[in-house]
Amino acid sequence: MNAVTANKLPNDSRQQPGKPPVARKRNSLSKGLLPRWAAPGIAVGSLILGAAASTLGGFSVASFAIYAAVIFVVASAIITTLVEGPRRGRNALATHLVYAAFLLALIPLASVLFTVLQKGLPGINTHFLFHSMNGITGAADNASVEDGTPVLGGAYHAVLGTLLITLWSTLISVPVGMLTAIYLVEYGKNGPLARGITFFVDVMTGIPSIVAGLFATALFAVIMGPTARMGIVAAVALSVLMIPTVVRSTEEMLKIVPNELREAAYALGVRKWRTIAKVVIPTAISGIASGVTLAIARVIGETAPILVTAGLANNINVNVFGNWMATLPTFIYYQILTPTSPTNVDPSIQRAWAAALLLIAMVMVLNLGARLIAGLFAPKKGR
C-alpha cells in the first residue's frame, strides 16, 4: 500500500481538488466518469431511503444503519456500473464492502468497551477493591436490593489471586522461554533439534487454554492425588500458554541483534556465555521485556485453565501452594453463572462488570506498557 497506488487509479482523476464539475466536459480523461458530488449524493439519498425503510418495521438505530449501508453499497455499485461500466462498478462495490467490513469489525470492540465502562464504573469503589466475598451470602444481596443499601462484597481476593498466579507463571515461563530462545538463536544454528523446537513451539501456541488447564490438573493429580487444586497448578497451566509467546518474541528480538556486536565481543576474548549475558541480551532487552509484557497480558485474562486448576474461593488466600484461589476471570464467570443470590441477580452482575472493568484496565495497561517499553528503549538495529 502506498500513495503511488492511490494516485495512479484512473477514476481518482475525478477527485482532484479545485476542479469544478464543469471542467468535466472539456477534460477527455474524466469523460464518462461520475461527477465528484455523486458519492455524497448517493450517501444522502441512501440515508433518507434507509430511514424510510427502517420506520416501516419499527424504527431502530441498528436497522436504520443496516438499511442505509446496504442501499448505499448497492446503489453506488449500480450507478457506477451504468455510468462508468461494469469493471468500475465491481471496483466500487468491492471498495465499499471493504470499508463496511472495517466498520463492522469496530462495532463489537466499541460495544464491549462501552458496556464494560458503563456497567462497570458504578461498581468500582474502595469497598469493592479492598474486600473479598468472604461471608457475603444471598441474604446480604437481597438486603441491598430491597433496602437500597450499597452492594457489599468485592474482588480483593480475586485481584490478589490473579496477581499471584500470574507472577508465578511469569517466574516459570520467562527463564524457560528465554533460555529456549537463546538456544534456538545462539546454539541451535538451525539444526534438526532447533527446527523441531521451533515447530513445536508454534504448535504449542495453538493448544486450547482449557487443555493446558487439564494437563496441569492431570500432572498434579498423578503427583499429589486427584484433588490437588491450588494456585501453583494454575500457574503451571498458564506457563504452558505463556512459554511459546515468550520464546517467539525473544527469538525475534535476539535475531535482530547485529552479529558485529557478538563478533566484537569474541574478538576481545569474551566467552560465549558472557557475550550472550552481557552483550546480546542487554541489546535486545527492551524487545524481550515488551514481549514478556504482552505474554502476561495474554494469560492474565485466561479463565478456563484457572477454572479447572485453582477452583473457586470466596476468601483471601495468598498461599499459592495450598487451598483454592480465585482470580478475576473466574470471579466474573461465577458471579454471572451462579449469582450469589439467585433471586436478586443485580448485585452479582454489578460485581461481575466491575471486575471486568478492572481486568480490562489491567490488560490495556499491560498492552500499552509493552508498546511504551518497545518504543522508548528500542535498540539500534544497526541496519
Binding site: Y99, A101, I210, W273, R274
Partner: protein, 310 residues
C-alpha cells in the same frame, strides 16, 4: 573463537559456558517434553473412560456416543465463526493494507489487535448480557420467515442463548487472528506485480484479485486454519453464551454443546469416572486442534521461502 589455541589459553569461565549452553539446551528440550507430557498425562487420566463399562459413561452408551454430539457441536460453532470471520477478516486486512490512508494504517492495525487483547470471559459476559438479548428479534424473524430451513427451525429461543450467538462471539474473537496474519502477507505482495496491474489499466479491485490475492492464498488459508484452531478450543465465550442441550440442527433454539464448554461447565463438580470422561474429552479436543494447527503450520512452512509468514 573456538580454536584449540584459544581454548587452552585459559580455563576461566569454561564452566560458565557449559552451564549456560546446557541450560539453554535443557529449556528447549523441556518444551518438547512438556508437549509430550500434555498428551501422556491426559491419556493416563482419561484411560478409565475407555476401559469402563459403557453403561457407566454419561449417556449410558459408551464414550463414543457421548463425545460424538459435542464434537459436532464444536465443529458447528467453529464453522459459524469462520463463515463470518473469514470474509470480514480478509476485508479488514485489505482495508488496512491497501485502502486506508497510509498514516492511519498502523494505528488501525493496533485497534484491531485490541480486539485480541480483550479477555475471553469479557466477551462471554458481553455475549451473555448484551449480544444475546439484542439478537432475539432477529432470531424470531428468521424463525418466522426462513423456518422451513432446518437450520432456522422455530420456535426461536427467547433468551437468544443459542449456538448462532456463540458462533458470532467466536467470530469476533477469531477475527483479529485472521486479520493480522492476512495483513502481514498482503503487505508482502511484490510491489511490481501491483504496479504492473495498475499500469495495464486495472481498477484497484482488479489489481487485488489479480496480484494480491493469488500471492497471499497460502497465507490466507493458514490464517483461517489458525483461526479455526482458536475457535475450536475457545471455552468461556461458549460456556457463558450457550444454553446447552442435546445436538439439534436448528441454530436458533437453545441446544448443542462444545467440548471446551462441556469441560468448563462440568469439571468443578466432577469426580471419579466423570472426571476422566471430561479429561478424555479434553484429549479429543487436543488432538483435533493439534491436527488443525499442524496443517496450518505445514502450509506456512511450505510457502515460507517466498511469503515470509510465520
Amino acid at each position: 573463537m573456538t580454536t584449540n589455541a584459544l581454548r587452552r589459553s585459559g580455563s576461566k569461565g569454561q564452566a560458565g559456558d557449559k552451564i549456560f549452553s546446557g541450560a539453554a539446551l535443557g529449556a528447549g528440550i523441556l518444551i518438547l517434553v512438556t508437549l509430550l507430557a500434555v498428551a501422556v498425562f491426559l491419556l493416563i487420566q482419561a484411560l478409565p473412560t475407555f476401559t469402563a463399562d459403557p453403561t457407566l459413561v454419561s449417556g449410558g452408551e459408551g464414550f463414543f456416543s457421548y463425545i460424538y454430539p459435542i464434537v459436532i457441536g464444536t465443529v458447528i460453532a467453529a464453522a459459524i465463526a469462520l463463515l463470518i470471520a473469514t470474509p470480514v477478516g480478509i476485508a479488514v486486512a485489505l482495508f488496512i493494507s491497501h485502502y486506508a490512508p497510509r498514516r492511519l494504517a498502523a494505528g488501525l492495525g493496533y485497534v484491531i489487535d485490541l480486539l485480541a487483547a480483550i479477555p475471553s470471559v469479557i466477551y462471554g459476559a458481553w455475549g451473555y448480557l448484551v449480544l444475546a438479548p439484542a439478537l432475539v428479534p432477529s432470531f424470531q424473524w428468521l424463525a418466522e420467515n426462513l423456518g422451513f430451513i432446518p437450520l432456522f427451525e422455530g420456535p426461536a429461543s427467547q433468551t437468544g442463548k443459542t449456538i448462532l450467538t456463540a458462533g458470532i462471539v467466536l467470530a469476533v474473537m477469531v477475527l483479529p487472528i485472521i486479520t493480522s496474519l492476512s495483513r502481514e502477507i498482503f503487505l508482502q505482495t511484490p510491489k511490481l506485480h501491483e504496479e504492473a496491474a495498475l499500469a495495464l489499466g486495472a481498477t484497484r479491485w482488479e489489481m487485488i484479485t489479480m496480484s494480491v490475492l493469488p500471492f497471499a492464498r497460502p497465507g490466507i488459508i493458514s490464517a483461517v486454519m489458525l483461526g479455526l484452531g482458536r475457535a475450536l478450543g475457545e471455552t468461556m465465550a461458549v460456556a457463558l453464551v450457550l444454553s446447552t442441550g442435546s445436538l439439534i440442527p436448528s441454530l436458533i433454539k437453545s441446544g448443542n454443546q462444545t467440548i471446551a464448554a462441556e469441560i468448563a461447565l462440568n469439571f468443578p463438580e466432577a469426580f471419579g469416572l466423570r472426571l476422566s470422561e471430561l479429561i478424555a474429552a479434553g484429549l479429543v479436543l487436543f488432538v483435533i486442534t493439534l491436527v488443525v494447527n499442524l496443517i496450518a503450520r505445514a502450509i506456512i512452512a511450505r510457502h515460507k521461502e517466498f511469503s515470509g509468514a510465520n
